[in-house]
């Protein structure tokens, strides 16, 4: 029964532009099992975020569709919580109130007031943010904000946790701390996670499978790499693990040999019809 918990089938999307519709994705197919941790990796502008937004229901696929636990998904909902790159906390609410807003949306009818309170506190403890419960987002650091963003999503008990470059805006050290926290939480709760990342090390460290995407337009899934590393994983010992490094090599080879950075080589045949929708900077993944 755990097979094909989340099914992405034949998904394609077109965005209307002034000239002609821009085809961002084509033929995206992926089956995800319950409790699996999936990373989506690819160059900027390849449509990773678009895939995530379609799963979230924030975008509508032009063709194909998403099936979650046997039901089609075509609008956003709290069963698919999204961790945004820039935390997206409400700056006028405290940390506690931010989580409360989400919890009340999901559990208002099923939990009592005391239970709701307990549940919010429990989730803030899970991300080690219970000490700053009554601070506003403006008073805490970027890493802490992202922790709260994760707590807000966990507290919704989503079927799938969608993370859009959750650690992309953080410094390397904070990022490592958060990755460890995320691994610890996923070990405990067994969430199904789909995460977008630019960072090869992060993808190998966290994922069960890495989904590598081809360059757009009309991007699709290039390769899928299974990561068979023992859990719980430890970043220090993995750094010297030949298997870990072999996985890294494979992802890097895909990104820099098979799918060359479209921004670095503008005169490629594939990108002849250029109308890139995204303007965000291409940041080369760091090799640590």
């Amino acid at each position: 029964m755990h097979k094909n918990y989340l099914e992405i089938s034949q998904v394609g999307i077109e965005f209307p532009t002034e000239a002609e519709p821009f085809r961002a994705l084509q033929n995206v197919n992926l089956s995800i099992q319950q409790g699996e941790f999936i990373s989506l990796i690819g160059h900027s502008g390849c449509g990773k975020s678009t895939v995530l937004n379609i799963i979230a229901g924030l975008y509508q696929a032009t063709e194909g569709g998403i099936i979650l636990e046997g039901r089609e998904v075509d609008e956003p909902g709290p069963d698919r919580a999204v961790v945004f790159q820039n935390h997206a906390l409400l700056p006028w609410l405290t940390v506690y109130q931010n989580v409360e807003l989400a919890v009340k949306c999901v559990f208002k009818k099923t939990k009592s007031k005391a239970e709701i309170r307990e549940w919010i506190e429990h989730n803030l403890e899970l991300v080690h943010m219970d000490h700053a419960m009554h601070k506003r987002p403006g008073e805490i650091s970027g890493g802490m904000k992202q922790r709260v963003g994760i707590a807000r999503c966990l507290a919704m008990q989503p079927k799938v946790l969608l993370m859009d470059e959750p650690f992309g805006a953080l410094d390397a050290l904070t990022r490592a701390h958060l990755q460890d926290s995320l691994m610890e939480i996923q070990n405990r709760l067994g969430n199904t996670v789909v995460m977008i990342t630019h960072d090869v090390d992060e993808a190998v460290l966290l994922s069960d499978r890495i989904v590598m995407m081809t360059n757009g337009p009309a991007a699709s899934i290039g390769e899928v790499l299974d990561i068979n590393l023992q859990r719980p994983r430890d970043r220090l010992s993995l750094a010297e693990d030949p298997a870990f490094n072999a996985y890294r090599q494979q992802v890097l080879r895909f990104l820099y040999e098979k799918q060359k950075n479209p921004a670095a080589k503008p005169k490629q045949v594939e990108s002849a019809s250029k109308s890139e929708p995204k303007t965000d900077k291409v940041s080369a993944p760091e090799a640590a």
Binding site: A56, G57, L58, P76, G77, P78, R80, A81, V82, F84, N86, A88, L90, P91, W92, L93, L101, A102, C105, R136, G138, M156
Partner: protein, 333 residues
């Protein structure tokens, strides 16, 4: 050097530092006050110099000194009028007491004093009128602005109307408002004066727009991520508006409200002049019609009063904004 001498030297240094700190604080205050004061003094000189060169049919144009004298006279008149009123009520009570002493069943009445409104009464009337007009405008403008900001369709439908009515002068509205109020507000025992309603509605019509326009911009520029959060959470419309839309838009809503209040206060004086609402506008108009040698001085007092009240109203809105704003680090000016 012994420890004792070192300690005493440190103590001396510390006291020097304290003195220096005090001096620098004093310097800052003086600096902060010097420029505005210089400006005011220069303005007064310029005013005096210009005024003494202008002779009108009502005599010399008032200089600062004349205006000062007139403002004292206005205060005295206020006190005199209040004393008259008190005396009037005392007389009535005495008369009623006598009546009751003669015949315990006699019907006694206290009649209200109907003397002329003093300058302070007129200021109060103006404030009351502008507050009423501004309140009506706000109650219409904020919901309208939110609706337009949230929906592209509503915006497209309403925007041409906003743009058309925005630049209309209060003087153009006034005759229409006067006739409409006369026609529709018919009552034997009116709670509001017609002149009051006419002035307040004219104020409302003119000070609606800055709040509408700024609220639209504020609501339309909500962070995309926050909109996505609300969609993921499936927030209901009332919760969405309360927890996301209004807090995001509050800085611009207040910018609009402050502009609106300033506009309303400006419009009010013109409206009161023509509608004969017994406020500062009517005061100026009556003084102008009166045409005595002190009239221009008294009008100048009103001009300065209007300016100072406008300034205070803006500061009050700013204080309210600081209270309501969630971002205590924001710089307000």
């Amino acid at each position: 050097m012994s420890t004792a001498t070192i300690t005493s030297k440190i103590a001396k240094l510390q006291s020097l530092i304290t003195v220096a700190n005090l001096l620098s604080a004093l310097e800052k205050t003086v600096k902060a006050a010097v420029l505005p004061l210089t400006g005011i003094v220069m303005f007064l000189f310029l005013w005096q110099a210009t005024a003494s060169n202008i002779v009108t049919s009502l005599g010399q144009f008032p200089g600062p000194g004349d205006v000062w004298d007139q403002s004292k006279i206005l205060i005295e008149e206020h006190h005199a009028e209040r004393e008259k009123a008190d005396a009037f009520y005392v007389r009535q009570e005495v008369r009623n007491a006598k009546k009751l002493a003669k015949n315990p069943d006699a019907k006694v009445k206290i009649r209200p004093y109907t003397g002329k409104a003093t300058y302070f009464d007129q200021i109060f009337t103006s404030l009351y009128t502008v507050a009423f007009g501004f309140l009506i405008a706000t109650l219409i403008a904020i919901p309208l602005g939110i609706a337009c900001g949230l929906s592209e369709k509503v915006y497209s439908a309403v925007n041409p109307i906003i743009q058309t009515f925005k630049p209309v002068s209060p003087l153009a509205w006034l005759p229409l408002v006067t006739m409409v109020v006369s026609a529709l507000y018919v009552s034997d025992d009116p709670y509001f004066e017609k002149a009051f309603l006419t002035s307040a509605f004219t104020v409302a019509l003119c000070c609606l727009w800055p709040t509408v326009v700024n609220t639209i911009v504020g609501v339309a520029s909500i962070d995309r991520d926050l909109i996505d959060v609300s969609r993921v959470l499936r927030l209901s419309w009332p919760v969405y508006i309360k927890t996301i839309v209004i807090p995001s838009a509050i800085p611009l809503i207040f910018t609009g409200l402050r502009l609106s209040l300033a506009t309303g206060w400006m419009v009010l004086i013109a409206a009161e002049m023509l509608a004969q609402n017994p406020g500062l506008g009517k005061f100026i108009w009556d003084e102008f019609q009166n045409g005595s040698s002190s009239s221009l001085g008294r009008i100048m007092v009103a001009v300065i009063t209007i300016g100072i009240i406008g300034f205070i109203l803006d500061r009050l809105m700013l204080a309210l904004q600081k209270r309501v704003s969630w971002d205590k680090q924001a710089i307000f000016r």
